[in-house]
Symmetry: C2
Subunit: 473 residues, 2 copies
């Protein structure tokens, strides 16, 4: 008995709230560094799945990914095989910071119990913004945040395809024109729908400056998508069968057999807030660079529920993205496992596509730079993804922001076709390194006619930015 009690005390317990990318990466990394005799790991997940790729849902719905399970990086069984006590369909409903324990509810039975922790990881993710509109809960209206959401949408598509004879009549409306919105537009095009995207902003992709968003607008129209900008949805109209039949704005109604909500997400931090943990202006948890919740020695947080440091503006941002969540998890797991790691911050890189249209951005938009108190020049250039004479050379537009006087790179936005999007990585590394556009003009980038013009489009933009900085007062 004494032996056992001593063993109990020498063994720490890590509790993880949320079984997706950040939480399970943290658990796995901690396990890699500390065996089950040293560290007990208990993880709670309220859903049906662990470690799945939410970013992959549009491609599953669109048919590029044939089955749901391809999106699951690691199943509950695989986690359990690594000595993680994973409790599925179990929702943590309270964090008692003072008592160092969490209260969890088994969603099937409703039974609740407390679990003590030595170390806690909060990885509760984000929840989709669901507008408070008439008809928003009608059948045929779908979010695309979870695998269950994806399956429900696929079921609706199948039912709709059965219900309507002519393929030409199937209509889908996507509400929102950010990453999820434009990716879902592609998915529904691939499913043979006539697609309308209804968007509140002046242009789609508000993560770009409006002039670049305009290029996305035009290109999406070129793909046969009806783009409705500057439009506030006022209601989702339903038919006699109760199913959605149209999306109404102040000015018009857009018939719809299916509606996808892609308006964005907010940090899922109700639990953290109730526990008195520090939240930022965007509603996300605030951590230090080791991903430890500020002011709390034994609590870490990562993934879509936290705010991160924008290295270019010096401000906190909320950027829900799987690649960050994985890095957060690794960082947390390393620190809990007795190692040392930090997540220094982001530069705000993102890439997406709609059919063959590629869209990418990193760093600051004009309004971000304004907010950060930075003065800047902007240049926009057109170039091609390959040497102009090489087959498949496709036009791309690159916009670049550089700080006035210093010439420090502040941001890059790209709209183009094949080969355009991932070029943003060049700028992402240059931003991280604090390079000036003048320094960038000398970058030794890969050149061969099938891969790039002799001056890579990023270098063409940098050269023009140098001239703009020089001629600026």
């Amino acid at each position: 008995m004494n032996m056992s009690r001593t063993e109990e005390r020498s063994r720490e317990r890590l509790v993880v709230v949320g079984g997706d990318a950040a939480g399970m990466s943290a658990a796995s990394q901690a396990r890699r560094l500390r065996g089950p005799d040293e560290l007990e790991i208990v993880a709670f997940e309220r859903g049906h799945f662990t470690s799945f790729s939410a970013c992959g849902i549009p491609y599953w719905v669109g048919g590029d990914v044939p089955e749901r399970d391809r999106l699951i990086a690691r199943s509950p069984e695989e986690h359990r095989a690594r000595d993680i006590d994973l409790r599925m369909r179990t929702e943590v409903v309270e964090i008692d910071v003072e008592g160092a324990r969490v209260r969890a509810r088994d969603l099937a039975s409703g039974a609740e119990s407390w679990t003590a922790y030595d170390k806690l990881v909060i990885a509760t993710g984000a929840r989709p913004i669901r507008p408070d509109l008439p008809g928003v809960d009608a059948p045929g209206v779908h979010g695309v945040q979870t695998l269950d959401d994806g399956q429900a949408l696929l079921d609706t598509l199948t039912a709709t395809e059965g219900r309507i004879d002519s393929a030409a009549q199937r209509r889908a409306v996507v509400v929102g024109a950010g990453y999820i919105g434009v990716e879902m537009a592609e998915a529904l095009i691939n499913r043979g729908y006539e697609v309308t995207v209804v968007n509140r902003g002046k242009e789609p992709m508000s993560t770009l400056d409006p002039d670049m968003g305009r290029l996305v607008h035009k290109a999406m129209e070129g793909l046969g998508i009806t783009m409705v900008d500057d439009a506030e949805v006022t209601a989702l109209r339903t038919g006699d069968d109760g199913r959605v039949r149209a999306v109404a704005t102040e000015e018009a109604e857009y018939p719809a057999d299916v509606v996808v909500l892609g308006i964005g997400v907010r940090p899922e931090t109700d639990l953290a807030k109730a526990a008195g943990l520090p939240l930022g202006d965007h509603g996300g948890l605030l951590t230090d660079l080791s991903m430890r919740v500020r002011g709390h020695e034994n609590i870490w947080a990562g993934g879509d529920c936290v705010e991160v440091l924008d290295l270019v503006s010096g401000r906190q941002r909320h950027i829900p993205l799987g690649t960050h969540a994985n890095k957060h998890g690794q960082t947390i797991g390393a620190n809990i496992g007795g190692g040392y790691a930090t997540f220094p911050g982001v530069v705000g890189t993102a890439v997406s596509k709609v059919c063959d249209l590629e869209i990418a951005r990193t760093g600051l938009r004009e309004k971000d730079a304004d907010r950060a108190g930075l003065q800047y020049v902007t240049v926009t250039i057109e170039s091609t993804s390959r040497a102009g004479y090489y087959p498949g050379a496709a036009l791309m537009t690159v916009k670049m922001l550089a700080e006035r006087r210093t010439g420090r790179l502040l941001g890059v936005q790209i709209v183009g076709r094949e080969g355009a999007g991932k070029r943003v990585d060049i700028a992402a590394v240059a931003l991280t390194a604090g390079m000036t556009v003048e320094q960038m003009t000398a970058l030794d980038l890969g050149y061969a006619p099938p891969f790039s013009p002799v001056w890579d489009p990023i270098l063409v933009a940098a050269r023009k930015a140098v001239a703009a900085v020089r001629s600026g007062a």
Copy 2:
């Protein structure tokens, strides 16, 4: 008269030797900054063309680029329209440094004359290494350095195709397995030839470490190319008609209807050497960072005839590549034009492809690091170009070198398929910025399933390199 003489004296003369990328970029940039009333520009080119893309020749020969003129960025007429006195088919045969003049020969008439300069740009390029072998001048043996070379090769291919009935019998041997060799292998495959690549090195692509070269070997074999490594060519055998009919090595003979020499190039610096200008260990002109020839106030040099500083090893290298030549030209032109620019050096980035195989490298190979006195760890990882579940996700292998102790990135080599090659730019920028592999693991790179796994392959390699550096003594 007096007026005129004063005007003459106030107008400087720039003489440019060599009318390709470096020379004509320098001339154009200088002209942009100083009008014809201030600066007279005389440029000599011994060939038939200006400003052409030698890198594009394999794609023209292979049929991807339909016509020769697509490879010409700017014609002699276009240069002349910008007030550049361009003298084609005129070879500079002597540089008189003390007298500040060059002697040029009109190749048609043989007439020679001296031209004085105030400023001189040497951009004489490189010349292909042509081995001193029996039969090397036989019809059917081709280099691929100039547009004339390309046309001659195309003429041979057309003649061969007419001469031989069955397509299956057409055979090509490429001597050399560097960039030109492998690109010509693709071109000849595209033309329907059975292709054999005979290569002196232990593996193809000696700009990679042998373990990565091995992957290229295997992949090229997978494309149906016969790869003969570790083989010294001893003779080119000719038939009764005097045409080449086989390539002989010490061990074997490889039948050939056409032979392409892709052995590499050397700086074309005979003129510079005769003039007493400083040459480096690789035979290239030595310049300072403004591309001014060392010790010569009024002479600049750029392009394939110069050596450049390798920023990673700190040593001089000879890297003939159009993208560098253009940067050199810009730098020289800016300085001659009264501006200020430097070419800080290279990190040794290169990318190439053979059909759908992509090959890229930047920084140091193992033997480069050894020579530079650096100790290092190496890691090699396999990952995919897209999320594993996304269609078209293709395997790629990334090798990474990091300095022992400091963890500074030293080099990256990539062999893969679509989407692999240009990822080398991430490493090229990180090398330029002097990043450690630990810093690289936090890079905010573009992520979406069609573009990358959640951990970009470069990040996967960086993470493994961090572990290797840590575990190293």
